[in-house]
Symmetry: C2
């Protein structure tokens, strides 16, 4: 975000603006929750109560399969259905600079003038990796802003898919014709998390072969529930197959509600979120209370020089916390 | 590991066997530290003091670039130099089954009869993803067992590279000729973490083009220190270029020592490890003390039904911990 003017207003006023769809208030809110500061947390508490759950759709797949274009066209399709749409694009980040590598790209030009679409690029953050832990909170802001559908796009393969599967109500895995066997073999590892498969660029040679490979892989993956992940063919650049994709996603949503799958998913999601938030809260509290004045640097050097082992050091840090509590 | 007989012995006896190179004792130790149980922690404290730091070499790259074969040949090369060698192969894991997808593969046949090589496949674990958090501890076991070199191979792209870069003293990124431009573009994101580049399968057409692309990408990446990441061409299947790769790795090791780069790296590594261990220890303690008797399930349902927001719930859990402490 470029610098926004600081506007003095209460959290209640701010929340009301977000619910009214004020784009600047929404952008500021997303920045605040990404920063995880106290203002962001106070705002989130208000927004969470105002938010109605959106249909969260994860779009994932290797680089180059056309995720961004497909997300753009799918957003347009949902707009035609009258839904307000949020888009969260997760970028991989560098371990050293800590920032987004791709940054906020100039993307999805066809959506840029549409007041019913909110687009946000997020960096993944440090060691928790994959989907940024704050993505949950960004979704809450978008839900409070009235989005009925949120598309979550992840760049990259591997851990990202895992995180999306936890957050999303539905996960679509994109494949394209012409990827090497090696890549398809690796993909077998994420077969389990896909609720549906999209063969994009299906006008290229080999689309049928990919479809057969998906069918073959599905036959060896343990069947979850009674949903058999369907395969949808698309050509995102032309919009071909996008309506069929949306209809398949709608069908999965109904299936989830009728089979109580969505309740199970939501329980798993919120359990993960609560435990992660607990982990983070405890940690930040401990660092603030127990590792002041460069204490961590002294510990690091002791361990680096093999004078003490990491487990003993951490036991001391945790124990010291208790000791100082007894004193106070 | 298949079932090993339970042998009653003290941690001191166990540690002594590991230092003596007893393969069964080493295998049991790695299992114990992977499980993170109390016996494992007690053993680690002893082993850490007996361990001399090995040269930790991360080998990373997309599926299909030939990492396993290269690791095997590089291990043989270091064996010829008289070094004892450990190999840690990190496998991606499924979010639902929690286990390794690839499992312990039958791999690296040429090393299987060599008493100076220890090979261990590890699954990545849940949400922390990428390189398993216990990889540090597995390395400690291998160091105590006398390994001077530990090769850490990661399957997959993305977050894995980040984790390897944190743990390893040197990170080699493998590329191959003939990958699409999309993949190479994505790879730009991990350019920063590579200390050297290996173009494997360099007998295939296009090796020179990949080398030019690497050079072009390096020219736009901010220069770290005074080390310019070299490019080594290999054909791992025939062993071509492996000696040159080892010599380049040796040169980087010397560079790191002379430039104090290795001290900076080690500080960053141990800082990350200590903070991660602190995070995990605090969390496990809190779950044991504050979330007994299905308390988490009640919180999950309150949040899922939008009756309470996650931040308020976590504040209550952390606060309750404090309250109960006052009472006792």
């Amino acid at each position: 975000m470029a610098a926004l003017p600081v506007i003095r207003m209460s959290h209640e006023e701010w929340a009301a603006k977000i619910v009214a769809g004020d784009r600047r208030a929404i952008a500021r809110a997303i920045s605040a929750v990404e920063n995880g500061d106290a203002a962001g947390v106070a705002l989130l508490k208000l927004l969470f109560q105002k938010a109605s759950p959106a249909y969260l759709i994860g779009i994932t797949g290797s680089p180059g399969v056309g995720k961004s274009t497909l997300v753009e066209k799918l957003a347009l399709e949902y707009r035609r259905q009258g839904s307000r749409v949020g888009i969260v694009a997760v970028d991989p980040s560098s371990p050293f600079s800590g920032g987004a590598i791709l940054g906020d790209r100039i993307r999805m030009q066809s959506l840029s003038g549409d007041a019913g679409v909110y687009i946000r690029s997020m960096a993944t953050r440090g060691q928790l990796g994959g989907l940024a832990p704050t993505a949950h909170d960004v979704v809450t802001v978008l839900e409070a802003a009235g989005c009925q559908v949120v598309l979550i796009e992840t760049v990259g393969v591997g851990q990202d898919e895992v995180e999306v599967a936890r957050l999303a109500d539905a996960t679509a895995l994109l494949l394209v014709p012409g990827m090497g066997d090696d890549v398809q073999t690796f993909k077998a590892g994420v077969m389990e998390i896909a609720d549906l498969f999209v063969i994009n660029k299906a006008d290229r040679p080999g689309a049928d072969r990919v479809e057969q490979e998906v069918a073959a892989m599905l036959s060896v993956v343990p069947q979850r529930d009674t949903w058999r992940p369907p395969v949808v063919k698309t050509v995102a650049t032309t919009g071909e197959g996008i309506t069929a994709l949306r209809e398949t996603l709608d069908r999965f949503q109904v299936f989830g509600q009728e089979s109580a799958l969505s309740v199970k998913r939501q329980q798993a999601k919120w359990r993960g979120r609560l435990l992660e938030l607990l982990r983070q809260t405890l940690f930040e509290k401990a660092v603030a209370e127990r590792l002041r004045d460069g204490a961590i640097d002294r510990y690091v050097d002791e361990v680096r020089q093999h004078r003490r082992d990491p487990h003993s050091v951490v036991e001391e840090i945790v124990g010291e916390g208790r000791k100082s509590k007894v004193k106070s």
